[in-house]
Symmetry: C2
Subunit: 332 residues, 2 copies
């Protein structure tokens, strides 16, 4: 077994977020389903951008947000994902490395620009995301450095990787390398529409034990098992015999194994500003807890704590030092 | 006299801000004077960026911030400033127009990139700015559309325009056109080091009545009159017989004319996060009050209110609707 150099390795789409406040009328006019992530092409990105208010540009990407959260919690973290060698790609790289994350994926010199996600935040704090995948589509199996995967306790993969065709192979390769090295593989289902696009493949990943840990919110889990009832979905997840972690917004989370189902509370907040990154940061807390051999309830509480920080400001990356916060709350 | 189509026209450097939290050690190590603005070249911008934490990218520029603040207060506002036709320039243009500001300066197709300001925010909320002027240096007198100047009640110019050599001519042309059309011309001294670079020229602008209104903070005013005593500086400003507005951070502001000196209080805040834009937004409130024929004290209160909003979050552009805020406070 290779030396363990990293707690968590994240693999995902490398994306810059453009975040602007919006209102429900705009969502209706632009035909956007609140809370969802839609894939858009460059022309649509340009036209949608024109309808948006003044924005903040902050590094994002689901798995990347998780990895930054894990680093903020003190985990040794690394990331694999593809940017272009343009201004946005430079900013993405800078922001990852500035938080202490190891990031060495070669940027694309040619082809589409670094991926952008146009995020409309409504007054209720909900975010509606529109992603132009750009350079992130060029992530291939070649970008998966086996030495990195072998040396990470947990490899964390986002379901969104199923969207760019070549990234799927990168995902499968990473999972195989991790398991060969006796490491854990975690998957987030990412988005209910993403689950809808790849339901059978995601179920296969779970049932064939390509992944050991599954993160999902209620919408995603119901979509996975094609039921409108969350208890039915949780029972199905239990039958699939994986470590399942289901986030339920202000209702906290549920940890599901074949043996037990544990409920953990949400973490109190003063003011909901922007839910972008809530699920990503929950995963950061849970995974970091796992690497510290914390019990599942503590892992879930760490997740809830990390999520609570990120939803109280714009952007999906933590602004506070999460390790200090965890220590103050007796969670690490 | 041409029809008045705009309340305020701002002319300034068109800049994208990169904002990151920092600490006093970094300022010391990088030899940066807290609270100041330094001009840096591209190589220094790159090396300083590497030392900075993860950043947020938000449109900035002193006069541009003021203009956006005025628009948020309900003023009809326009802006002249130079970006390059690159991603940052596109974002700057989008953000201005999204707030209802008229902005039509032709972007540069060639030459240096859109200007960037690297802003280090220390835990005390103070910002230390490092500006790479880039494309903003290419603003020339040709970019000053006389029709725009003639139709704006107040033309507001930033002292920073004295840094790019050609912009100085643009400044002087705008002031001349405005006065020919019987409009008002306002100047912000921008920064104590900027005053130090151009003291005699700024004094000339005031004494020769090239400008009618002068905004300064205490440091800038003391630098202008080369005194360590603020009362001496205010007395000198009074003798120069202009409408002077001196901001004093948490001590509020002082409005100085030959006839009277009025003190106005600061506006209460919950939490100081980032002082970037405080002076810019003060000017936005004061100028908007003037265009509404409010008395000087009300203008100063409007300024303090607008400044209070912007210092409670990262970035120098308002996130709240300032007109609603002003109405709730009985100021507009």
């Amino acid at each position: 077994m290779a030396d363990q150099a990293y707690d968590v390795l994240g693999i995902g789409n490398a994306i810059i977020d453009v975040i602007a406040r919006s209102d429900d009328d705009v969502l209706a006019r632009e035909n956007l389903a609140k809370g969802s992530m839609s894939l858009i092409d460059e022309a649509r990105a340009l036209s949608l951008y024109e309808t948006m208010g003044a924005g903040k540009i902050i590094s994002g990407g689901s798995a990347a947000n998780t990895i930054v959260g894990a680093a903020s919690l003190g985990a040794k973290a690394c990331f694999i994902g593809k940017v272009k060698a343009d201004d946005a790609g430079h900013a993405f790289t800078h922001d990852l490395r500035a938080t202490g994350v190891h990031y060495a994926t070669a940027p694309a010199a040619f082809g589409p620009a670094t991926a952008r996600c146009l995020i409309l935040v409504t007054p209720d704090g909900e975010r509606t995301m529109n992603t132009y995948l750009g350079a992130s589509q060029n992530l291939t199996a070649e970008d998966i450095d086996p030495a990195l995967v072998e040396r990470a306790k947990i490899t964390y993969l986002e379901g969104y990787l199923w969207d760019p065709p070549a990234a799927k192979e990168a995902f499968v390769k990473a999972a195989a390398v991790a398991h060969q090295a006796n490491r854990l593989v975690a998957l987030t289902l990412s988005d209910a529409f993403c689950v809808d696009r790849y339901r059978d493949e995601f179920l296969n990943l779970i049932r064939k034990k390509t992944v050991d840990i599954v993160f999902a919110n209620e919408h995603e889990l119901k979509s996975l098992y094609q039921t409108g009832d969350i208890d039915t979905a949780i029972a199905a997840l239990r039958d699939d015999d994986t470590l399942g972690v289901v986030t339920r917004s202000e209702h906290g989370s549920v940890v599901v194994t074949r043996e037990e189902t544990l409920a953990a509370p949400a973490f109190p907040i003063d003011r909901l500003v922007d839910t972008t990154g809530a699920g990503d940061l929950f995963a950061a807390g849970f995974l970091t807890g796992l690497t510290r051999d914390a019990n599942y309830l503590t892992c879930a509480r760490l997740g809830a704590m990390a999520a609570s920080e990120v939803i109280q400001h714009y952007g999906a990356r933590p602004e506070a030092n999460l390790l200090d916060m965890a220590r103050e709350n007796g969670l690490l």
